[in-house]
Each structure stands twice: as C-alpha cells, then as structure tokens.
C-alpha cells in the first residue's frame, strides 16, 4: 500500500510541476520511453542532464567572472543548456535560458 501511496504522491507532484510550468510535455515523452527493456531510462537521462547542467553552469560562472566578459561564450553555454533542458522537459529552466540569452545579446552584465 505504501508503494501505491508513494506513486500517487509522485504523480501529484509531477502534475503540480507541470501546472506550475516547471515541467512540460517532453518529460512525459521521456517517461513513455521507459519500459522493461530500459527500466531506469528517466533516471539515467535526468542524471546526465544534472551533470551536464553542472558543467555548463560552472563554465558560465567562470566566463562571467573574467573581465571583459566574453558574452558570446556565455551565450554558447546558455544555448546548450536551453537545448538539453528542452530535451528533458525542464520548461522553467528553458524559459530562463531564453531570457538569459537576451541579456547576453544586449551585453547586459547586470541582467
């Protein structure tokens, strides 16, 4: 019974995340790709995504600390981050990346 309750809670949490715009339909697409032949697919992809995000964020931080700031390089990192966020359904991250790229284009360091 506990397992079922946990599963239900997870489902509710996921629905809430989708409603609040943190996740989008692509995450459901990923879940469809998981089955008996690949039971840990979602976990593997999300773990890869987190590792990738960490590297990209470190790269971005490093580039932003340099003077003068290489906005093109920051933009390249953000573009990659936007791409992988879209692929896993991380909608909120993706939209933040879009805003971030606008700042890069405007060379707005404060932004």
């Amino acid at each position: 019974m506990d397992v079922i309750q946990l599963q239900r809670k997870m489902q509710e949490h996921q629905t809430a995340l989708i409603r609040e715009g943190f996740l989008d339909d692509q995450f459901k697409q990923l879940q469809k790709l998981q089955d008996e032949s690949s039971p840990d697919f979602v976990i593997e992809v999300v773990t890869m995504y987190f590792d990738d995000s960490e590297n990209l964020l470190k790269g971005m931080a490093r580039t932003l600390e340099q003077a003068p700031v290489d906005f093109k390089q920051v933009d390249a990192y953000v573009h990659q981050y936007k791409g992988s966020s879209a692929s896993v359904g991380a909608a909120r991250v993706k939209s933040v990346c879009i805003a971030f790229r606008n700042f890069c284009e405007a060379q707005n360091l404060e932004g």
Partner: protein, 253 residues
Amino acid sequence: MEGCDHLSPVDTEDVHVLAVDDSLVDRKVIERLLRISACKGVCALSFQGQNGHFSFLCFFFFNFWIFAVTAVDSGMRALQFLGLDEEKSDAFDGLKVDLIITDYCMPGMTGYELLKKIKESSALREIPVVIMSSENVLPRIYRCLEEGAEDFIVKPVKLSDVKRLRDYMTTREVKAGISEERGGENTRMNKRKLRDTTSDLASSPPSVSSSLLSSSSSPSDSPSPSSSPSSSPSLLDSPIRRLRMTNTATTTD
C-alpha cells in the same frame, strides 16, 4: 498486402542509423527514441491483427525495423565513421549506414556542413539525412532541404517525429526489396520520387512561407499552399506542420 510476401526475404536486415549530436543528453534521448520506435512497431501490429495471417505478415514487416544506432558527438567523427575522412571505401562497405540524423548547431562542423559533405560524396549521397534543430529558422530549413536533407525536425524530438523517419526507410528499402533485380536503378528512382515530393515544398518557398506568415496573422490568406496538404499529407506532417505548431507556440511567448 500482397507486397508483404516479398518482404520476408529482406526482413531480417538491421537498419543502421547514425546519430550526430554534440549534446550527451540529446544523444541518449535520440538513441532511445530510435530503438523504442522500432520495437513498438513490432508489438503494436501483432496485437492489432485479428486475422492470424494478417498479424503474421505485419510482424514480419515491422520485424524489418530493428534499429542499430551509432551515436557520435561531432560532424568530424561522423565522417570518420562513414569512411569519408580516410577515403577508405572498405570502411564504408563494412558499416552500411541507412539513415543519418544530425543536429544543426554543433561546434566545429555544423549539421549543414556535414550534410553538404555527405551529398558531395558519390559513395554516401544516397543515404537519407535528417537535420534536427532547436531553432525553427525558415531560411535554415529551406537551405537544408535544398541541399538534399530528407526532413527537418524541430527539437525537442518526440516519438511521433521518429516514427515519421520510418517512412523514408520504407520507400527506399521496401521498394528496393520488392524489385531487387532492378538494383541501383530502382534506388535512384525512389530517391527521385522522394526528391519530387520533397521539392513540392522546397521549390516553392515563397508560397509556403507566405502561408506560414499568414497563419500567424490572418489564416484566410493561403491560396496555393492549402492545396498541398491534400496531395502530400505525410510530408506536411514533416517540417512545415511542425513549424506551424512551433510558430504559433512562439508567437504566444
């Protein structure tokens, strides 16, 4: 259904897909999408057939779609894999790639540059190439289609996008299998057929783009492009319909 009988001799062939993308996450997702779309093809149709004969034939038909997927992280590595770099035709014969799916934005060599190199090679130009991109830039799409890309998929890639790719393999492989004796000539005919139907969209960029522009402003303004949906529905499923969907999505941002 009679055509299916001819398929049994070729149904054990693996379809080898080469996926090119610099993003590790995207490579993992596309690899899984390809593998699962092949397997699901087998399962779905074997249940649907009520007639045992029907389901048996269809099982064989979709058994054809066992995707072997090789994923590489750059255009250079893709060319090396294809044997283009070292100019070793022996390397290519051994690998036999049936479809190439590549990201557009990659450091070093873009997907477009990779596409050009493949189409310039006499050994590789027959391989269908599909481009993926997170940005639906119309000039970019037309440029790729004109250079010989079979299709253009806007990321993030979904199962329905990958299922559409099977159509390109069907036309090439199945027709080649049905009339094996014609050999290379038949494959060239298929390629021309594919090109003809693709060029219906690609050769009339002004009218298509005007329909896309009008779809965001006034839907009533679409004269000739509205006739193309009836003639080639599956092709409109491909880049243009996806564009329209993403266009309306981006305009509401």
